[in-house]
Symmetry: C2
Amino acid sequence: MDLVCERNKLNSAVNNAQKAVSERSTLPILEGILLKTDNNTLTLTGNNTELAIRCRIESDVKEQGSVVVSSKIFSDIVKRLPDNRVHIEYKKDHNNIVTLRSGNSKFDILGIDPIDFPDIPKIISDNFITISAKKFNNMIKKTIFAVAQDETKPVFTGELLSIDNDEIRLVALDGFRLAIRNDKMDRNYGTNKVIIPGKNLSEISKILSDIDGDITIIFDDKSVQINTEEITIVSRLLSGNFINYEKIIPTEYKTRVIADTREFQDSIERASVILRDEKSNTVKLNINNNRIEITSSSEHGSVYEEMAANVEGLDIEIGFNSKYLIEILRAIDDESICMEFTNNVGPCIIKPIDGNSYIYFILPVKLAR
Amino acid sequence: MDLVCERNKLNSAVNNAQKAVSERSTLPILEGILLKTDNNTLTLTGNNTELAIRCRIESDVKEQGSVVVSSKIFSDIVKRLPDNRVHIEYKKDHNNIVTLRSGNSKFDILGIDPIDFPDIPKIISDNFITISAKKFNNMIKKTIFAVAQDETKPVFTGELLSIDNDEIRLVALDGFRLAIRNDKMDRNYGTNKVIIPGKNLSEISKILSDIDGDITIIFDDKSVQINTEEITIVSRLLSGNFINYEKIIPTEYKTRVIADTREFQDSIERASVILRDEKSNTVKLNINNNRIEITSSSEHGSVYEEMAANVEGLDIEIGFNSKYLIEILRAIDDESICMEFTNNVGPCIIKPIDGNSYIYFILPVKLAR
């Protein structure tokens, strides 16, 4: 392999491919990035067998070839290269050494034979959608916090991606809260449901942050593939059935509150200041007379907050895990929110005043008497 | 105690006082901040018995008093207060509760009787200097990295502050390198030498970053006191004799190199990329023919760097701990540096091309053959 490419493009490709590289693996090759030429393109691939990311950059290739290099060492070198012109050379018979040259610097690092580098699953399917990268990333960022962290029900460590004609929906739930984001696409794409692992979506989200324009998402039974102009991402899917979450969302309410989102969030955050351990993490809402009283207490003291709100229906006193409530409020950009309650043992639904771009659902905690 | 003050001033005073509060102490009162009124001033004091910081803010005091509050809880509350107007109230008979009110928020937190809060040492002395805060802070920041981290020789966990008429000097050394910064003051202040604990200087440096104008530094045998307009900092001194470091600085050299500081630093940093553990941390310099060759090697590979430099005297091949060398180079703002070598087992001296604002000294490491 013998090629010349640009440091800045190489650096951004390494940073992206690295997101699918194992931090620590019993197989050293999984801690590596595969460099491979394809005519005048250099591809960089990270693949931890759950998630694979392949990035393409233009390159002036004198001699085709492929080699795996340590992801950590290679990325540390690339980001410090003194000149934007980088020369990469690898000859198998030369002690497996990969040589990088840039400016007056020369780096010799160990190359690994790519023969054992895992293949990326090939997706052959007619099921696909096209959506703006920003839109899809926004849906991930505003639901991902509700993905289950423990593995007792593996299916809830993923998010349900549901396609229904021109509607796209992401759903995450962890047994205490539920996060749903809806958006529209430009045309109908039939129906489809897949479950994508949450930790892969987190990495995908970081990559999409830098992407303008559209992405294509292709599905088969086992995998989902996301294509941008220069990057191909393949994630395995989770098997199993997602819960019928729509059934658990109440359609009626006894109390309905319209409140300023930031004012409510700030109040809950202030009330949480004295809640410093898992055991005492409850904020209490007392809703009456067009007013929300927010109180909390712990061994460290107590907090009383009060804010105006538009309240319709019955008075209610209800407690929530403050961390869960704050995470939901942080995911909402709207100036005002609508909260619906049935009673103080049933869920609270948080949704927009107009439209259905999101639904959040949070279970209350029992109040100490 | 009953007073009204401004949140923003209170917040910055809490942040400063907090730097002298124990993170974890067997005495809960040392994890607290002392609030104390003095006519129309509120003082906030943190005191871990090694370092004390007292901050004064204007306050509308209705009833004088004092109380200690948990530093963590109090600072978390203050930074989130909704309104710039803060009302603080404490009545001993009211279950020792301190009440903060701001906007529609009310916080009740536990107050601790201030009777056991440690006194700040009083310094009665005619020994003092006046110097710009920025200047003194710059001297700290550019020497503090060379303070010894291990406690085997306690005196080297501090920095020597030496006053000689209108000259001020800070010295840190850890057995592998030595860092000296010199500056001038506006007038003569006699002579004085004290050793200030490095970890206290780190906290002092953070406070001085926000201070414009001059500070006064007062010394006695046991303590040093730094006064700004609104803050009083008292640090205990380390006892013992600092090494006669001037004796170990060579006055002659066999090789003298003038090099571009950033280019040299970048080369050393690149050569360090493959040096990933304590055992193999050596960069080798090969100085000859108006050129510095920088090489390194480890199990991860090898690096070769080369840069032009102005070399006078004998050729030399010498090795250094890359981390130590990088820390020194990062502390130098000058465009070019002068390096002097005697031989490859003697120290390297790094100093400015003109003047004596700094002297750094680094011992070489033996090169493997």
